[in-house]
């Protein structure tokens, strides 16, 4: 790996100057002649039916051009035919579902199955298709609705010549609502006789079916104060492996605790504004998105048109965190208004709108009962989770259980979960969905460590996954899937050193004035790669390497970083590389959905494949012109030459010209059959420009690619005020070969801070009587600020993953859970085992626990407070 000239080295990404000088244009910066502005009207109630809309006064105002309501939306074509969950072992679901071209999602590839948010589908082995599916089939979430299911859900949009006119017009609209019953707390929604969030029921199953599920009074009565009751769960949300009962019987210690985890909004700094116009039958869409190639079919679906009618321009995205993948369904609003008016339409999304329609991470209550042997080895886990699905979701409990199963390598595990619908903001995958199980598990593990007299690092080490460690529920044949590789022990050892774990631990717990410190460690994980995507590049007669990147530019820079694999394969100096991205008309290849930290892995592979394809073609051309066999030629220094005789060769510029002369596969006039239709169309358009490298990633791959992070935190708590700070944080990442160190570090810091946010302050607050959101502004919802960030240290294990050619795995999501868990453990270390049973931990809960002698506010399992 040390031989690489590009991989593993820092460089300046090509977007830097535009970003720091403000030249970079985001969707809301775009202007067009005659552009109208549209604004949304959201529901003032948590659940209602719109009986009548009277917009006559609004539409009569000068400057008001059009109104859009749910009636104007395309009927979703797939509502009646929900796709079954892909079988484990298939390629990423997004490709298969998105409709652009199925080849990206061909069966037979071993990869982690992920849904369209990049979330691994880690449910139980599918139950054999037998009885008719239960429940009522419902429509999926739409951009506008006549039955709002949460406060702020958009009911209509008005387009006008400018924003003040649109807003003034909306204020003149009269709507007659019929208020409907609502619920904001999932646990409340399980109580007998409680209202359902939706008329059809309170639990969403796979395939958009809704059932009603209520627990009994006896279920609630059976739970001890402060413990999550364990009532019935839907069939698909339960699995187990190993002998769980024996695991508990044999355990030296069993710890059983319930923990409340907050819902947190994604709050990308760029809200989901979008500008659309039509030209020549095509929709031109400027919006922000996590994934470029994958958003084209998605936008087509949202707007009821075909992918070939969509032109997507999205060179920059100001943050997404899982909430804009692929794009977002509200793009249909400006698109359809533009069609209606014949004018370009900018949909302006305010922060308030974004808090509503932008996504949020599902809150949870997790109850973890864990058995430990004397040495700390986990003998059994019994995990029960209720997640808050919001109005349209299923929650993250399945993913959380899957992560727990790999992180702690239990010998036996049982999982039960249920996602309950609530009339609160819609949930979606947020960076590391499911990672929020971390505090529920970590609290139990660090408590066990203290009880058994084992060091926190040691207890994580003894339970750490290593090598091809098993992951997730059993499959149909009873076997379990496994990861491609895991070097967690190495990460823990390196981190303990770097952080100075033992010295800090020795000092923890000692009081300095009113201050006390605590230390904590935790391991985080997430999926970190998929396979089977395409790479596309040309070496042109100017001697340069042109790499097409179909990835979205969501701020992670994987859109650029992954292209370095192609340049590396060709030994091409970086200053001769030109990257094209951000615009679907610019001949981009089919690319992965940028969720699930797939991109770094998927596209180093795809680019490596394209690079190797070009390299082979260079060698073949040289052999044709200069004699000998292709294998006799070396590619390097922008030339292809006879091995051992550097004088006998062609420059890349000459080879590019020869490729054009030769035609056929050399310049892209003949294409491999296995590439995706989008790649094929792009390659066809580029044919004849030079020597083409084009290939689908068919490299071998055995296991589920996952990355790991060991996080170490130190907190300092003022016991008189309850204020605390995370003073130090060290993260050591096991992400295979480090692709771009500075970026890897940046991703680790950002992901860690997001994880900490859940521990130290970020929250959603609802008034449950009215069902309305209170924490609408940042000073209410309190995501951490710059000054809340600790001193960070970063290092990488930097051992290549054996199941991918350049050894790279993804890094975006695994840091989140590690930081969340480590900070929770540090707080417990400082405050005591029983100081809290929910996050965020804030001054009030710290003080309250001190006042009560270290006891948590027991019996308070409420959400959103």
């Amino acid at each position: 790996m040390s031989d690489y000239k590009l991989i593993g080295h820092n460089y300046i990404t090509p977007d830097l100057v535009a970003k720091v000088t403000g030249q970079a244009k985001y969707a809301e910066d775009v202007r067009a002649d005659g552009m109208l502005v549209c604004r949304l009207l959201g529901s003032p109630m948590p659940h209602a039916r719109v009986r009548r809309i009277d917009a006559s006064a609004a539409l009569a105002m000068p400057g008001v051009r059009a109104i859009l309501t749910a009636d104007d939306l395309p009927v979703p074509p797939v509502a009646a035919a929900p796709s079954p969950p892909p079988a484990p072992g298939t390629s990423p679901a997004p490709a298969a579902r998105s409709g652009a071209a199925g080849e990206g999602g061909r069966r037979g590839q071993r990869a982690i199955a992920v849904d369209e948010h990049g979330q691994p589908i880690g449910g139980a082995a599918p139950t054999p298709a037998a009885a008719a599916p239960a429940g009522t089939l419902v429509k999926a979430e739409a951009a506008l609705t006549m039955e709002p299911l949460y406060e702020g859900e958009p009911i209509l949009a008005i387009a006008a010549v400018d924003e003040p006119t649109a807003v003034a017009a909306i204020e003149r609209i009269a709507i007659d609502f019929e208020p409907l019953p609502f619920v904001v707390d999932p646990l409340e929604g399980l109580r007998p006789g409680s209202p359902n969030a939706r008329r059809e029921g309170n639990v969403l199953l796979q395939g958009n079916r809704i059932v009603e599920l209520k627990w009994t009074d006896a279920d609630f009565a059976a739970a001890a104060l402060g413990q999550l009751p364990a009532g019935a769960v839907p069939d698909g949300d339960a699995w187990s492996f190993g002998d769980v009962d024996a695991g508990f019987t044999d355990a030296a210690l069993v710890v059983d605790e319930s923990f409340v985890i907050p819902t947190t909004s994604h709050i990308p700094l760029e809200p989901r504004s979008a500008m659309a116009y039509w030209q020549n039958g095509k929709l031109y869409m400027h919006c922000s998105t996590q994934s470029l190639a994958q958003s084209v079919p998605a936008i087509a679906r949202y707007c009821g048109i075909s992918p070939s009618q969509v032109v997507l321009i999205s060179p920059y995205t100001g943050g997404a965190f899982g909430g804009k993948n692929p794009a977002y369904l509200h793009v249909a609003i400006p698109a359809l208004l533009a069609k209606k008016t014949g004018q370009p339409v900018m949909m302006k999304i305010t922060r308030d709108d974004e808090m509503n329609i932008g996504r949020s991470r599902p809150g949870m209550i997790g109850r973890a009962k864990v058995g430990f042997a004397k040495d700390g080895r986990i003998t059994a886990i019994d995990l029960f989770v209720v997640s808050d699905g919001g109005p349209y979701g299923r929650g993250d409990h399945g993913s959380g259980a899957r992560l727990a199963s790999v992180l702690y390598q239990p010998k036996a595990m049982r999982f039960r979960g249920v996602g309950v619908l609530t009339n609160t903001v819609p949930r979606g995958s947020q960076r590391g969905p499911g990672m929020q199980i971390a505090p529920a598990m970590e609290l139990v593990i660090s408590k066990a460590a203290r009880t058994l007299g084992i060091d926190q690092v040691a207890i994580h080490r003894i339970n750490a996954p290593a090598g091809k460690a098993p992951v997730g529920p059993p499959q149909r044949d009873g076997s379990r899937r496994y990861v491609t590789s895991a070097f967690v022990k190495e990460a823990l050892d390196k981190g303990a050193d770097l952080f100075g774990w033992h010295e800090r631990k020795a000092a923890s717990g000692t009081r300095h004035g009113s201050k006390v410190r605590g230390v904590g460690v935790a391991v985080g994980t997430y999926s970190a790669g998929s396979v089977g995507y395409d790479g596309l590049l040309t070496i042109e007669p100017d001697g340069k390497l042109y790499i097409q990147s179909g990835c979205g530019h969501l701020g992670t820079n994987s859109v650029f970083d992954t292209t370095r694999a192609a340049a590396e394969a060709l030994d091409m100096p970086w200053d001769k590389v030109v990257i094209t991205q951000g615009d679907s008309t610019r001949n981009l290849p089919w690319s992965c959905s940028q969720g699930g930290s797939q991109t770094a892995h998927a596209h180093t592979r795809a680019n490596w494949a394209a690079g190797l394809d070009a390299k082979r073609k260079l060698q073949e051309i040289a052999a044709k012109d200069l004699g000998g066999r292709a294998e006799d030629y070396t590619v390097g220094g922008e030339r292809v030459y006879r091995t051992g005789a550097p004088g006998r060769g062609l420059t890349f510029a000459q080879a590019a010209k020869r490729a054009i002369d030769l035609g056929g596969a050399y310049d892209g006039h003949e294409l491999p059959s296995e590439i995706n239709a989008m790649t094929k169309a792009s390659a066809t358009a580029l044919a004849g420009r030079g020597l083409m490298g084009v290939a689908k990633d068919t490299f071998k791959h055995d296991g589920d690619t996952m990355s790991f992070v060991a996080g170490f935190a130190e907190v300092e708590v003022d016991v008189e005020t309850g204020e605390f700070a995370v003073v130090d944080y060290t993260a050591v990442v096991d992400v295979g070969t480090v692709l771009h160190p500075r970026n890897c570090q940046g991703q680790t810091y950002g992901g860690s801070l997001l994880g900490m946010a859940h521990a130290i302050g970020h929250r959603w607050v609802y008034d449950r009587h009215y069902g309305l959101a209170l924490a609408r502004r940042f000073y209410h919802s309190k995501p951490p600020s710059l000054l809340d960030a600790p001193r960070f240290q970063w290092a990488a294990v930097n051992l290549p993953d054996p199941e991918t050619p350049v050894g790279v795995r993804g890094v975006g999501e695994p840091p989140v859970g590690a930081a969340y868990g480590a900070v929770v453990n540090a707080l417990v270390d400082a405050l005591g085992d029983d100081a809290f049973r929910r996050t965020p931990v804030m001054a009030d809960s710290v003080l309250a626990s001190f006042e009560a002698g270290g006891k948590p506010a027991r019996g308070a399992l409420a959400f959103h407070v």
Partner: protein, 330 residues
């Protein structure tokens, strides 16, 4: 009619260059006018369309409202002086450090560069029910949504609850009360000078406003007398985030000591009631006592006498007690 947020309403903007011109404008428009200082309290209320004034009178162009002048050992601070300027002013720092620290603890650097002292003491509450446009007492309605069995009121009042349970969120207000500052208020009827302690109103006096300012009133200056120059000062603010955050509770102390004995003291906490709470009883009890743990304990217990916590803010009682103890203990 439908409610939409996040958009500036239309208004007429006036930018007078003298106090007299400003007074004429606000006199002319009466209750339809709103005074604009730094705008940090005003703009989000406007954006939420909770207030829709016909006229906005921007004080930014009035030179006589700017700056800090020395007057007889004390200071006269123009109402439009920014919090950043106050926080870094050498005399404020050396003689009235409690004010420098309070101003320096406000929000964030951006907020301090833009926010003014006049605006900071005249700002409205941040009660999230009120600010979100709920029709509560303070907004002219007839209930308080923050004081119901399901209300989330972690950031609300523990003292002087009277229908409304909102708190005053200002960091500089308690410091000015501790310094016995005088507020200079002008209107077309003339000038009056009011002690900082009397500038703020609780819901018992007027539930719809937080200061004595009436339509047509302009706060022109804040006078800090020499009385407490160079005293022992403390300012402490407890908040959830280290920046961009209002106080959960803050405390400002001015103390005169000799031979370890507290000779005189003014002690003020804020964010526990609708107005900064001067702890007269504590002041009286500790005057003449040594600055030690016993005095601190006594002060802490006295400080929370009569507290009436709501469902989610019991912690503020302990917090107030501990902050008072710390202020006395040093």
């Amino acid at each position: 009619m439908a409610v939409i947020r996040g958009s500036m309403p239309s208004f007429e903007l006036f930018q007078p260059t003298s106090v007299d011109a400003a007074l004429a404008l606000i006199g002319r428009h009466g209750a339809a006018a709103r005074i604009l200082g730094g705008g940090l309290d005003t703009f989000d209320a406007l954006q939420d369309r909770v207030v829709q004034p016909a006229a906005l009178v921007d004080l930014g162009g009035i030179a006589e409202l700017q700056g800090i002048r020395e007057v007889g050992g004390g200071l006269e601070i123009g109402a439009m002086t920014t919090l950043a300027e106050i926080a870094r002013h050498p005399i404020v720092q050396s003689q009235f450090a409690v004010l420098a620290r309070a101003a320096g603890a406000v929000g964030s650097p951006q907020i301090r560069n833009q926010g003014t002292l006049g605006g900071n003491v005249s700002q409205s509450t941040r009660c999230w029910y009120y600010r979100s446009g709920w029709t509560c007492y303070r907004a002219g309605g007839n209930s308080c949504f923050a004081d119901t069995p399901t209300a989330v009121n972690r950031e609300h009042a523990i003292f002087d609850l009277d229908r409304c349970v909102a708190v005053n969120p200002s960091d500089t207000a308690p410091a000015l009360v501790a310094l016995d500052a005088q507020m200079v208020v002008r209107s077309s009827r003339g000038e009056r000078v009011v002690a900082a302690e009397d500038y703020f109103l609780g819901p018992d006096i007027d539930i719809t406003r937080m200061t004595i300012l009436d339509a047509g009133d302009l706060l022109t200056a804040i006078r800090v007398p020499a009385t407490w120059a160079g005293a022992h000062f403390q300012f402490e603010k407890v908040r959830d985030r280290k920046v961009w955050d209002f106080p959960l509770v803050n405390i400002a102390t001015a103390m005169k000591m000799s031979n370890g004995i507290i000779r005189d003291i003014r002690l003020v906490v804020n964010a526990v009631a609708a107005r900064p709470r001067r702890l007269h009883e504590v002041e009286n009890a500790v005057r003449g006592k040594p600055r030690d743990a016993a005095t601190a304990t006594l002060a802490g217990e006295l400080a929370i006498k009569g507290a009436q916590p709501l469902r989610h803010n019991t912690y503020k009682v302990a917090l107030t007690r501990n902050l008072v103890q710390r202020a006395i203990r040093g």
